[in-house]
């Protein structure tokens, strides 16, 4: 069993390396098939492992592949820790990765750099698996940075496009800000609990006397450590204010948006917090912070999506918003609930992206939804898949989104504190917003009349592209019924938070009767009224609302803020380089000293004039002086 786990990353690495290094020897299709099949094999392996884990209660697989570093007491290994959490995550990652692999064979077939693409996503899957199965914080960080790297490479996949290379730099740097805090957080945890290894950390934590914790400015040491760790997660999972990279990352190829920027990589932050949940249990202040950040993100970033016209960016904003739900759930220590949403979201968001990709491909790489419309008849399969995805995201009863989102809202309500109620109301509003923008998208793109020219040229893509869509639609529809597994999911060694769950049927009935359904209906009506029937409401053109919507359209100026930060950095750098380094240190001190010496020597030079009588005079003069001195002593 342990051996099998080792094969998963190895297979993925082989897939990445062969497609990358042998790119000249392989044809496109062969490269695609090879890497897809390697991912498929690892998927089978992971499924096997997952079933094994679930068949035996609380079975944890834990071992080191090899010792990464060992210096005295400090020892870091490269290894794996497979419990139910990571086993399921592995399956999700590999499943979506496999589907995206297959999809990409069709989607990327005309690309010159087809094999480079496959090499990247192979590397991505490898890093992600490394992150998921890791048994210590350093390996987690390595995978964490690894997925960031691949995201960087893939956003800049079309390296000739200025916007793409700007976006990838931005993505990497913002992630790096998070990583900086993340590594400090890791080190803080290490300093307190003396290990990087999860098992040892949690054992030490259990033995740790919480009363002995240091308090700094009223915050406990663990609070601060968790806060720093969470900043890392904020960058990776695109929470306010570090979310700005995710909409821009849509410059990458669409399958990547599905795999990396929707289903897997961005959920790494959620996964990390879930993984370290025993520590977060002790960080009360930080979890409140997490809750607020998540709720704010869920609502306010969702609002931006209503005004966005780029099909991919709308879905990107919805991703951020959904991540906000997950983060909010983390904020009330409901890790399993959050993870459940992560799991359902992975399927329907990947589905949405892949459908969007299919639409974009059919329209020859047009992404502006104002140029689309009425595609329902021409792209029937894509339409139905997209519809399923949308139903999931708005939480239509019996779809997967319904279960996971409702569970979050239920738990939130059940928590019953002031702050959670505040978050609950934000999330509920968020649900309304989600319904509006999701339906808006579907109404504008698939209903009405086509606004982009000749409709007849448009046709469905090949089955390589459609098959993954269908599989994902199926998964999106049914995955919600696994709710029982998640509710009972133990996160690592600690017991779970008690989640109020009475069974499937009561849950469904309760969910349908909950306020979320009301938001669903209201949202549907609004969207239908505004976007399907294209009615104008005079209220919307009132000055106040226009002002608000204009403000929302600026995306709350977060981009401008980061731009001015980078400008500040550049100008500091420029001034430091020219004013301080060159002028003061180099010119004044370093070259100034020789200049002084030069001046001194030129004075001495002027004394030695070359005239004989000057020399003679000096000789005689000094003779007289010396003689005088001797004389004065003797006499």
């Amino acid at each position: 069993m342990e051996k099998l786990i080792m094969y998963i990353p190895i297979l993925l690495l082989i897939s990445s390396v062969t497609t990358g290094l042998l790119s000249k020897r392989l044809s496109n299709v062969h490269a695609g098939i090879i890497s897809s099949s390697l991912v498929f094999v690892s998927l089978i392996l992971s499924l096997f492992i997952c079933f094994n884990i679930f068949s035996e209660e609380s079975n944890i697989l834990y071992d080191d592949f090899y010792q990464w570093i060992s210096i005295d007491s400090l020892s870091i290994g490269m290894g794996f820790l497979i419990d139910k959490l990571s086993a399921m995550m592995t399956v999700v990652v590999l499943l979506i990765s496999f589907l995206v692999h297959v999809y990409s064979i069709g989607y990327m077939r005309d690309e010159k750099d087809f094999k480079r693409f496959f090499s990247y996503i192979g590397l991505f899957t490898f890093s992600m698996i490394l992150l998921v199965i890791s048994n210590n914080l350093i390996q987690l960080f390595i995978g964490w940075e690894g997925v960031g790297l691949v995201s960087y490479l893939l956003i800049g996949f079309f390296y000739k496009k200025e916007s793409a290379i700007k976006a990838n730099l931005k993505a990497f740097l913002i992630n790096r800000i998070g990583d900086m805090f993340f590594i400090i957080g890791i080190i803080m945890v290490f300093t307190l609990l003396d290990s990087f290894d999860y098992k040892t950390i949690f054992l030490n934590l259990e033995a740790f006397d919480i009363d002995k914790l240091d308090y700094i400015y009223g915050f406990s040491y663990l609070d601060i450590a968790c806060f720093f760790l969470f900043i890392g997660a904020m960058a990776k999972s695109a929470q306010i204010p570090l979310h700005v990279w995710l909409p821009d990352s849509m410059e990458g190829p669409t399958p990547i948006s599905a795999l990396i920027h929707a289903a897997t990589m961005v959920t790494a932050g959620i996964f990390m917090v879930a993984r370290l949940s025993p520590i977060y249990n002790f960080a009360d202040v930080t979890t409140d912070f997490i809750l607020i950040i998540g709720a704010l993100t869920a609502l306010f970033i969702g609002v931006i999506a209503i005004f966005e016209n780029d099909i991919k960016k709308v879905i990107a904003y919805s991703t951020i918003s959904q991540l906000g739900y997950m983060v909010a759930a983390l904020g009330i220590n409901a890790y399993t609930v959050s993870f459940f949403h992560l799991y359902t979201h992975a399927f329907f968001k990947a589905l949405l992206f892949l459908c969007a990709g299919s639409v974009i491909m059919s329209l020859h790489h047009k992404q502006d939804i104002t140029k689309m419309g009425g595609l329902r008849e021409k792209l029937p399969i894509t339409f139905y898949c997209f519809l399923i995805g949308t139903l999931c995201i708005i939480g239509f009863p019996f779809t997967s989104g319904f279960f996971s989102k409702d569970l979050i809202l239920e738990v939130m309500l059940y928590e019953n504190t002031n702050i959670s109620f505040f978050a609950y109301s934000l999330l509920l509003l968020g649900a309304l917003v989600t319904t509006v923008y999701s339906l808006r998208l579907i109404f504008i793109v698939f209903y009405g009349n086509y606004r982009g020219g000749d409709l007849n040229k448009i046709h469905e893509e090949s089955y390589v592209i459609l098959t993954p869509l269908i599989i994902l639609s199926f998964l999106s529809l049914v995955s919600g019924f696994a709710i029982k597994i998640f509710v009972d999911l133990p996160i690592f060694m600690f017991g779970i938070k008690d989640i109020h769950y009475e069974g499937l049927i009561p849950f469904i009935t309760h969910g349908i009767l909950s306020p979320a359904s009301v938001t669903l209906i209201i949202g549907f009506l609004i969207a239908k009224y505004l976007y399907l029937d294209n009615k104008k409401i005079s209220l919307l053109s009132s000055k106040f609302l226009v002002m608000i919507s204009n403000f929302i359209k600026t995306k709350y100026k977060f981009d401008e803020f980061f731009l001015s930060c980078s400008d500040l950095m550049k100008s500091i750098s420029y001034h430091a380089a020219t004013k301080f380094d060159i002028k003061i240190i180099d010119s004044f001190v370093v070259n100034g000293l020789p200049r002084r010496i030069n001046r001194l020597s030129s004075f001495f030079r002027s004394i030695s004039s070359g005239y004989l009588y000057h020399y003679a005079f000096l000789i005689v003069f000094s003779l007289v002086v010396i003689f005088g001195i001797i004389l004065a002593r003797v006499l």
Partner: protein, 499 residues
């Protein structure tokens, strides 16, 4: 042979270097001769690496011959693990440089090769000398070939740069010599081993520390003494830059760990706060300075200074660590981090300079603003460039991450502020490395940059070897760590005993 392997390593390239001066006819024969000498030296260093017993903390392969016994000067050689690793780094870099040199068009090829061979031998001498005067002689003589390489084969402003380089480093070494002579005057020995047994008063130690630390700080270079490095790098030919960054800077760091910390630990510990601050300034401030450089070589030079800041930070944290914990395990972690950073930086900066040098060879420009979209024209080069740039910003999985991680870890144990500033390099190094990549590698190909060929087989081999080493060091660092462990334990004990 194995007993005299150090002498062989030192003198073989030096003699070959002098010999090659008299032959200038056929370039091909010169190339083959040069490469084969470097290859032999490299193989010898592998033998050294293999035969070194890493479980012993003593100096090994010791050779001790009378030289000027009346002045207590001996021809005293010997290595411990850090010397062995640095010698290995040295020989492999020189081998790659000799391969790279054979692809160039050069004037006075035999003299060029001769300078490099001399530098090779002398650096090995620096790393293996156990007699302070012998060390000093190698240390100073090393300046000569470097001075010639910059001064003869350099760029437009080469005379200024080479003289600045020479005077600057020479100034520092005078202080070093004075310190050695002072120590000798009280113990009448120049042997490092007897240096370790000295016990000076704290005032004496402070003065000795200042004298020696300035010499080595200039060589590393630390923050206020760093301005010679960008100039020297900009003017030096590519191979010169590689040697400068990969080898010469390490000599300073080696000096710290061999001659400063264990000999005058009290002096060092009473003044360490200054050096910690200077290191942090080097990391943050010099990193910031690197961002807006328009000359690629200058940018990499500044990033080198910034990375070497980590090395010195790791060195000088140890006293605070010891104060906090009273155990030596944290000190070993910190020193391991520094040593790892030294070795890793040797490879990464060498690789980056080779990349930049090749761009310069093709386009005759190093200005970032003159370049754009090289990925379209020479993909192989560009991917290597991207890889090395990523390695430069400390990506996990590459060797630079390991050292930085350990040093940040150690710095956190002394102070949160240190750790915070040190870890800001994650952002700063990413900004300058990747912004460089964005402007030079990505984007549309700039007009006028067509018609250049991609890397040839030899260049690909060189870059591939470097990339492979960087990856292996990043993925499996434990080999080196355990290799160095006994030696670093020993050095740590030497330091702690005297505090």
């Amino acid at each position: 042979m194995i007993n005299n392997i150090l002498s062989l390593l030192i003198w073989l390239p030096i003699i070959a270097g002098l010999f090659i001066l008299f032959y200038k006819k056929d370039d091909k024969i010169l190339n083959i001769f040069n490469i084969s000498i470097n290859l032999i030296v490299f193989i010898l260093s592998i033998l050294l690496l293999n035969n070194y017993d890493q479980n012993s903390s003593n100096f090994q392969f010791v050779e001790n011959i009378d030289w000027i016994p009346s002045l207590n000067i001996y021809y005293f050689l010997g290595v411990d693990a850090i010397s062995v690793l640095l010698i290995f780094l040295n020989t492999i870099i020189f081998l790659l440089v000799s391969l790279y040199n054979s692809t160039l068009n050069l004037k006075k090829r035999n003299q060029y090769y001769s300078s490099f061979l001399l530098a090779n031998g002398l650096t090995i001498g620096v790393f293996s000398a156990l007699d302070a005067i012998l060390f000093y002689i190698f240390f100073e003589a090393l300046l000569i070939p470097m001075f010639l390489i910059i001064g003869i084969w350099g760029g437009v402003n080469r005379i200024y740069a080479s003289i600045k380089f020479f005077v600057y480093t020479f100034l520092g070494s005078i202080l070093l010599l004075i310190a050695f002579l002072y120590i000798n005057s009280s113990i009448s020995s120049f042997s490092v081993l007897s240096f370790y047994d000295t016990s000076f008063s704290i005032v004496e130690q402070e003065w000795l520390f200042i004298a020696m630390a300035i010499a080595f700080a200039i060589k590393i270079p630390m923050f206020p003494f760093h301005t010679w490095l960008p100039d020297a790098h900009v003017e030096a030919p590519t191979s010169g830059s590689v040697v400068l960054a990969a080898i010469l800077l390490k000599v300073g760091a080696y000096g710290f760990i061999r001659y400063v910390l264990p000999v005058v630990p009290l002096g060092a510990s009473s003044l360490d706060i200054f050096f910690i601050i200077l290191s942090l300034i080097a990391i943050v401030y010099v990193g910031l300075v690197a961002i807006t450089q328009d000359d690629m070589k200058k940018l990499i030079a500044y990033s080198s200074i910034s990375h070497m800041g980590f090395v010195t930070l790791g060195f000088f944290l140890i006293f605070k660590l010891f104060d906090n914990t009273n155990t030596n395990s944290d000190i070993v972690v910190s020193l391991s981090g520094s040593m790892y950073q030294i070795i890793s930086h040797g490879f990464v900066s060498a690789a980056l300079f080779i990349c930049v040098g090749s761009i310069y060879d093709r386009y005759k420009t190093k200005k970032i603003s003159d370049l754009s979209g090289l990925l379209n024209q020479m993909p192989v080069y560009s991917w290597f460039f991207v890889f090395f740039a990523l390695a430069n910003c400390g990506l996990p999985g590459t060797s630079s991450f390991v050292g930085e991680l350990l040093i940040i870890l150690a710095s956190f144990k002394t102070s949160f502020i240190y750790a915070f500033l040190a870890s800001s390099t994650l952002i700063i190094s990413a900004v300058y490395s990747l912004w460089l990549v964005k402007r030079v590698i990505y984007g549309e190909l700039k007009a006028g940059l067509e018609n250049s060929i991609d890397a040839n087989f030899l260049e690909k081999t060189i870059l591939f070897v470097l990339a492979l080493i960087i990856l292996i060091l990043g993925i499996y660092p434990d080999y080196l760590m355990s290799y160095m462990n006994m030696t670093l334990q020993n050095i740590t004990n030497n330091i702690i005993i005297k505090i």
